[in-house]
């Protein structure tokens, strides 16, 4: 990263990494939780592009609310169904909800999330279900 690639420096770095890994292994603090990377790469890229557009849209919406004189807040706390199977896809969905300003995942349960919305409108759950379907398209197989 620093642009210096002397064998001595790289060797020191590799050595300390190995020592740290060994010590942590001896301490038995690594949980036996392996995350399978069950994602479709091309669809993942498509999803990212879509997510960026969503983030931009909702940012502008929240900015308008902040700058409006009377701040038209209409808060709600509701459940959103979550149909993903793997934990990784669930995490992606929850983080996507939080990343788009205006909605935040507050609590996660097995098949639904509790979502808090800043300016709730009646078609918000449908939008979240659309996002859910998109994340589901990214997910490939995994544990049933």
């Amino acid at each position: 990263m620093s642009g210096v690639y002397q064998p001595l420096t790289i060797g020191f770095g590799a050595m300390s990494a190995i020592v740290a890994t060994y010590v942590i292994h001896r301490m038995n603090v690594v949980d036996e939780d392996r995350v399978p990377l069950a994602l479709h790469p091309v669809r993942m890229l498509q999803y990212w592009v879509w997510l960026m557009v969503e983030i931009a849209k909702s940012n502008i919406a929240v900015t308008k609310i902040i700058l409006a004189r009377d701040m038209p807040i209409r808060q709600n706390f509701f459940t959103a169904p979550c149909t993903e199977k793997t934990e990784l896809a669930q995490v992606i969905f929850a983080n996507s909800i939080t990343l788009t300003p205006g909605t935040i995942t507050v609590e996660t349960e097995d098949d639904h999330f509790w979502v808090h919305a800043l300016a709730y409108s009646a078609d918000d759950p449908d939008a979240l279900m659309d996002m859910d379907a998109r994340v589901l398209a990214v997910e490939t197989g995994g544990r049933a």
Binding site: S2, V4, Q6, L8, T9
Partner: protein
Amino acid sequence: MIETLINIALFAMLITTAFAIVRMDHLFGVVMLSGVFSLLSAMLFVTLDAVDVAFTEAAVGAGISTVLMLGTIALTARREKRVNNRTFVPMLVCVVTGAVLIYGTLDMPNFGDPNAPAQIHVAPAYLNDSIEEIDVPNVVTSILASYRGYDTMGETAVVFTAGIGVMLILSGLRHRRHSLRQRLRLESRRRRKLAKRGQT
């Protein structure tokens, strides 16, 4: 010019944060504010080109010390105890010490003065020779790990010992607390049993 303004702005925020820390009696707020204080001072170190110090500040100030202070609060109280002592003598001591320290800085060379003693004697030698002698790209690293290797080792040993001491003390506390909790649980179970017996 621009950097001076940035430094002034950062210093102003730093002082504001310091006053806020002193004024606040809510200890969680104090921990949060001191985290921000360390972030601000790290920014200041970066603008003053002391990148290595900023690195240390990041690891120690913002990371570990916040966690340590929270652990301390978990073991003690959440609010500052109000003390109504007379504040005149401590104030006097602080003012006098501060004045003496400021008087001491009057003799020091200006910031970045090329003729300052620190710049003339060892620094050029380190800067010129460390690449040939030690062959480590970062001069500060070569000073700490090689020219002053024993010094650094001693410091590390001291910190390590302190850490072990703290861990020993805290683990003892947790053990005692745990047994207290177990005792409470047993007590409530016994009471429930007694109540049930009373009903039947």
